[in-house]
Symmetry: C2
Subunit: 333 residues, 2 copies
DNA sequence: AATATAAAGCGAAACGTTTCGCTTTATGTT
DNA sequence: AACATAAAGCGAAACGTTTCGCTTTATATT
């Protein structure tokens, strides 16, 4: 049906090799270049990527392994990854691990079967055994957001512990001492952020009260529940750090249910600058991650690895974060 | 590097044709079957989908064109589409249109270049010209959530007008007469839902007050702003219908900012049963769409079209909705 | 036992590119 | 004018499958 390089050959009288050379940016006499271009236009020729893939062993397709495709955080990351890859002519085949390591492992094999040129993975956990088969098949892997425990893969991420440390330090600097945390402990990032909280508190000589640390799952529900718990304490915290978007959303809803006000009665510090924050009243102080850079860097690094072909030492790109100031933190005592 | 069918041939002494037949589920003598299976295991053979694709002209890959990949609604749909397709051995290549028709058009061509076997599209608008090139290339297209203006493509969706009608009818049946609406008018679904609202109101003989209809973009921001507007009216509505998830989220936040209570001071009806609803207090009444069925049906229909090969008359699958009752609607007067 | 029929196997061509090694043509140097 | 060198073009093989049309083998029927 569709025109092939052979039709171009007939039309121009040139050889397949020459036409192929033209298609891949090689040098061709101006005269022949014209001929080829005319023929391409006339026959609506487009190169068949499948055939090309068969001989070059390249599909110009990258697999994206997301621990969950329902999270808005990942949606945003996905957009940036996609935009970057597209510019390079790469498509992305996405796989949803549904937060299940078993599905993740299946997905890796599926992607290898589809002969992707590389994989960007937002892994379910730091236990990245499922990715070993990719390594064995010499398909480059770049982790995003979450590193592997053994640091055996390239990784683009932020320093979660440090980011949390700075956030809590900010609260401390504003005079807060009784600082609570609503954090998810089900995934790496949450645990790291919790560490940062502890470190800042300890350094400041604050006691780490067990009842100030509400930990649970990465969900709006838990954010609601955790915050409710903190608010019902006899001596409730004067400030609360919420370790991610979903948790913050639930937590703010819990606060709204009471007749306490932010920042008069309680100060808040969130994590992840997603659209919600523009609408919550008062505007939240929050740690912002460079989502765009994260997606772009991951894409960039992966393309580089694909290009080089050889297996290099794993590298880590750790991007900086900053605190976006809102009106949710009061200076006290 | 990897084993090919030729290696299996050497190992077993059978012909390529026979092995290929086995691989594709054809009949082979038990004895030979054993040999082949042993060889496959020993050599870790896996069929090369690229080579297969070249001759069958099938990639077992489906393109998904999403108007935005940042919306949580689409994330959920994506998960269901992905799960269904995967079961059939299909991968999905996803493209983000960023709510821009121009990008959408580019994406279609990109997908055709990648030789996808079919496309599931959540189009930016009902103006689906960009998909015509897919039609020309005989690549089946199934629209999801939003139909095409000229009904020229298969489509899986709900009856938005009817769903909204029922929701508003529910409010009317509970004695409400002054019913407001916060709706997005930037996309098809929002406009249809608004129509349903009007129809129900008119049928009930209620005046359609202009100031009760807050319309704007599909965003949390607008939900917040629109609801604020309604709440500040001298004679404010006794009930408000919010036409989608984002708008509802913003609207509830706006309500929380005031000291009005739901359902004592105002009743609420939302749209889309996403996780938030389990956490908002009080639990929202809402229209729920069968997201899982939508994703599955779209996948199923597309696979059917891919299988049949021929172009059939476009069909529409319109799924039912229901109202999930919460505690946000009071019976009045 | 002869024959008809079904089942299994086979060789070769095809799918649409890229690439290797070689030849031809053009350009520049002495 | 002869030659060296660079540039462009070419034919053929290769990539790893599937599939077509045919042959061989096994099974069933009379």
């Amino acid at each position: 049906m569709a025109a092939t390089i052979r039709d171009i050959k007939e039309q121009t009288g040139l050889s397949l090799a020459t036409i192929s050379k033209y298609l891949n940016g090689g040098n061709v006499l101006p005269e022949n270049r014209m001929k080829i271009e005319a023929a391409i236009k006339e026959l609506h020729y487009e190169v068949n990527e499948i055939a090309r893939g068969l001989v070059t062993n390249r599909t110009r397709t990258v697999g994206v392994l997301a621990y969950s495709v329902e999270s808005i955080f990942n949606g945003t990351l996905l957009r940036h990854i996609g935009n970057s890859l597209r510019k390079a002519g790469y498509g992305l085949m996405i796989c949803d691990s549904c937060d299940d390591p078993k599905i993740e492992a299946e997905n890796v094999n599926f992607l290898l079967g589809k002969k992707v040129d590389g994989i960007i993975a937002l892994p379910v956990s730091t236990e990245t055994d499922s990715l070993k088969s990719a390594k064995k098949a010499k398909v480059p892997v770049v982790l995003l957001d979450r590193p592997s425990r053994d640091a055996e893969f390239d990784c683009v991420r932020i320093d979660n512990c440090r980011a949390a440390y700075q956030a809590v330090k900010f609260l401390l600097d504003n005079g807060h001492k009784r600082i609570g945390i609503v954090c998810s402990r089900t995934e790496y990032t949450g645990r790291e952020r919790c560490k940062g909280y502890r470190k800042a508190m300890e350094e400041a000589g604050c006691v780490l009260r067990k009842e100030y640390c509400a930990s649970g799952t990465h969900s709006i529900e838990f954010g609601f529940e955790g915050m409710s718990r903190l608010l019902s304490l006899k001596e409730r915290p004067t400030a609360v750090f919420m370790t991610n978007y979903e948790v913050a959303l639930g937590a703010v809803m819990a606060l709204n249910k009471t007749n306490l006000h932010c920042p008069e009665d309680i100060s808040l510090m969130g994590f992840d600058d997603l659209i919600m924050s523009h609408v919550i009243h008062p505007r939240l102080h929050m740690v912002v991650q460079p989502m765009k850079e994260m997606g772009e860097k991951a894409a960039e690094l992966l393309l580089e690895r694909i290009g080089s072909g050889q297996q290099e030492m794993a590298m880590e790109i750790v991007l900086g974060t900053r605190i976006s100031e809102g009106d949710s933190v009061a200076e006290i005592g």
